[in-house]
């Protein structure tokens, strides 16, 4: 269970997040951070990862990890940025082993890395160069680097950005399965409300650095919240298969 209390952060004198409270996010679930550009979603995610200085308290399974060093925090929390850098002369397997060996001397690093690649269905890409991968494959390779560290908390910064529809679903389904299987607390910054409603257990909507709405997709996302967070008028409806659909009518 991960909880955030009174978290505030900013850049210089500019405040970006103010008194963010997010009560227990349980293991085996995905929470989506949603909001307009500049709402503070990525800053919140980076603050949880310890990559951005923030005030407030962070509890993981009852223990206060706020004052943990970056190395201590990295044992429990792994952050997956939006994309892998370009022009890296490493294979998918080398990069996965590198992610594990960066802070441990695991003698079974090769076997563990291969097991993760197989679980993600990309063991056929083990010897492929990172630069030769398509967008969806790069995201899965990136996910492998995070999962090989066996994190208790997985922070994903826009994992589906720049992916086509099929790869968006493949990546989100994989994250969903792994999260449940391994009891990971997953938090993802997303822009696609449909994806968030379909694959996430909980939505946290931010606006102006504050939490506007927090709860299960059914309750957290309402026309009023849409208006308040995104400045649009819209409807929340279910399709014939029962998935929540967000229909935007107008920009308010």
């Amino acid at each position: 269970m991960l909880s955030v209390e009174k978290l505030s952060a900013g850049y210089g004198k500019k405040s970006v997040l103010t008194d963010i409270d997010i009560a227990g996010m349980p293991a085996g679930t995905i929470t989506a951070f949603l909001g307009q550009n500049g709402a503070g979603k990525s800053t919140l995610l980076r603050s949880l990862a310890g990559l951005h200085r923030a005030l407030g308290t962070l509890h993981l399974n009852g223990a206060d990890i706020t004052s943990h060093s970056p190395a201590q925090r990295a044992r429990a929390i792994t952050y997956m940025p939006q994309s892998l850098p370009q022009r890296v002369a490493l294979t998918v397997l080398e990069a996965t082993i590198g992610a594990l060996r960066a802070s441990s001397r695991d003698p079974d690093a090769v076997k563990r890395s291969l097991a993760v690649l197989e679980r993600l269905g990309i063991s056929n890409l083990a010897m492929a160069q990172l630069d030769s991968l398509s967008g969806g494959q790069r995201q899965l390779a990136s996910l492998a680097q995070a999962l090989v560290r066996k994190p208790r908390v997985l922070l994903l910064d826009e994992p589906t950005s720049a992916l086509d529809v099929a790869h968006q679903i493949r990546v989100m389904r994989t994250i969903r399965e792994i999260t449940e299987e391994q009891g990971i607390i997953a938090i993802a910054v997303l822009h696609d409300l449909g994806l968030a409603c379909r694959w996430c257990d909980r939505l946290v909507l931010l606006s102006g650095g504050r939490v506007v709405s927090d709860g299960e997709p059914d309750t957290a996302l309402t026309p009023d919240v849409l208006n308040q967070v995104y400045g649009v008028t819209g409807r929340i409806e279910r399709c014939s298969r029962g998935y929540i659909q967000v229909l935007i009518d107008e920009v308010a």
């Binding site: 990559l51 997956m80 590198g98 060996r101 690649l117 063991s123 056929n124 398509s134 680097q145």
Partner: protein
């Protein structure tokens, strides 16, 4: 569906075998480079203007009593230190370039593109033109000591900037380029006020030459390498992880600021020592890592040693070429390395542009 997605599934056991096969290939590559390096070093020692045959040269090294005193002096006091210094300086500059390219995430970074050689030139110019040196240092050591201090200081300046809040690697590279212009301008002032004799000496120093090699300098250079290389190798996994992105490396628990600081410290020691002993030798720090990257990739367990071997190999070949190009004339090796480096540099720019 992309071509890659159509690849047949690879069982973990097969992938593990393929991985270990690739590791063996990289080890063979390192051995091959080492053999090529030995061959290049032998060629470098054997060629020269004195007309000694390879047999005489090898006899002077392994059976000194079987050759004349003159032959022994040429081989032991001139050719051996020159050739060994070429290897050490090549390895040192290339290792410095490899680390710099990784920590700055910039394939065009090298100790020389970031102002180290320009700073060293200014330090040398102060000694040559104004006879300025550190009190207590013998006058014959003014040039290398001044060059070392300024080269080391320029990297410390870069480090100080990297510690400033909000200064990213791009800022660091831009600051390095600014340093090049500042120190070049200062050297130009020194040249403007220098006497004809001092100007000639300064110009020759800035060309980069192995003729300044002595056994004492060689021992210092070797000691520096022995002290620095183990620390570089100890950081190899962290440096590999840094190639996956700074945020990702931080989230793996790596203190990137500390990693970058100690890496720049190693770079400054390697580059400053090299430049202070042989002057400005460009492009080795750029070319060596690039050849190594093509051969073994960026797993730094292999990339760092391969960079050292490639740098030393190119330097040994440049040193031999500098003695062969114009018979009887020893061309400053810095000119030869630049002539090799410029075409490579242009090819690199065009390749990078094509990918963008």
């Amino acid at each position: 569906m992309s071509v890659l997605e159509q690849r047949p599934a690879l069982a973990p056991a097969d992938a593990e075998t393929a991985y270990h096969g690739k590791i063996r290939l990289k080890i063979m590559m390192l051995i091959g480079l080492a053999v090529a390096l030995c061959a290049a070093a032998v060629i470098d020692i054997c060629v020269g203007s004195s007309g000694l045959s390879p047999a005489e040269v090898l006899a002077a090294i392994f059976q000194p009593e079987s050759v004349s005193r003159g032959t022994r002096a040429i081989v032991v006091d001139v050719r051996l230190p020159y050739s060994l210094m070429a290897l050490l300086v090549g390895a040192s500059l290339s290792l410095a370039g490899a680390e710099m390219q990784t920590i700055l995430d910039n394939p065009l970074a090298s100790p020389f593109t970031l102002g180290v050689s320009s700073a060293a030139s200014f330090g040398a110019a102060l000694a040559i033109v104004l006879q300025l040196g550190i009190p207590g240092v013998p006058p014959e050591w003014f040039i290398p000591v001044n060059a070392f201090i300024f080269a080391f200081g320029s990297v410390l300046l870069l480090q100080a900037l990297s510690g400033l809040r909000g200064a990213g690697v791009e800022t660091l590279v831009l600051f390095g380029i600014a340093l090049v212009f500042v120190f070049n301008a200062l050297v130009a002032i020194m040249q403007f006020i220098a006497s004809a004799e001092a100007l000639q000496q300064l110009v020759f120093w800035s060309m980069g030459s192995l003729t300044r090699s002595t056994w004492t300098k060689l021992q210092i250079m070797a000691l520096v390498m022995v002290c620095v290389v183990p620390f570089s190798m100890a950081a190899c996994w962290k440096l590999t992880a840094l190639r996956l992105g700074e945020d990702r490396a931080r989230s793996f628990g790596i203190d990137v600021t500390r990693l970058r600081f100690f890496s720049l410290l190693r770079v400054s020691i390697l580059a400053a020592t090299s430049v202070s002993f042989v002057g400005t030798i460009g492009f080795i720090g750029l070319v060596g890592p690039h050849i190594a990257r093509l051969l073994v990739g960026e797993d730094h367990r292999f990339f760092l040693p391969a960079s050292m071997l490639c740098g030393a190999l190119v330097m040994a070949l440049a040193s031999a070429s500098s003695k062969i190009i114009v018979p009887g004339v020893l061309i400053p090796v810095g000119i030869v390395t630049s002539l090799i480096g410029v075409p490579f540099f242009l090819a690199l720019i065009f390749t990078t542009k094509g990918k963008a």
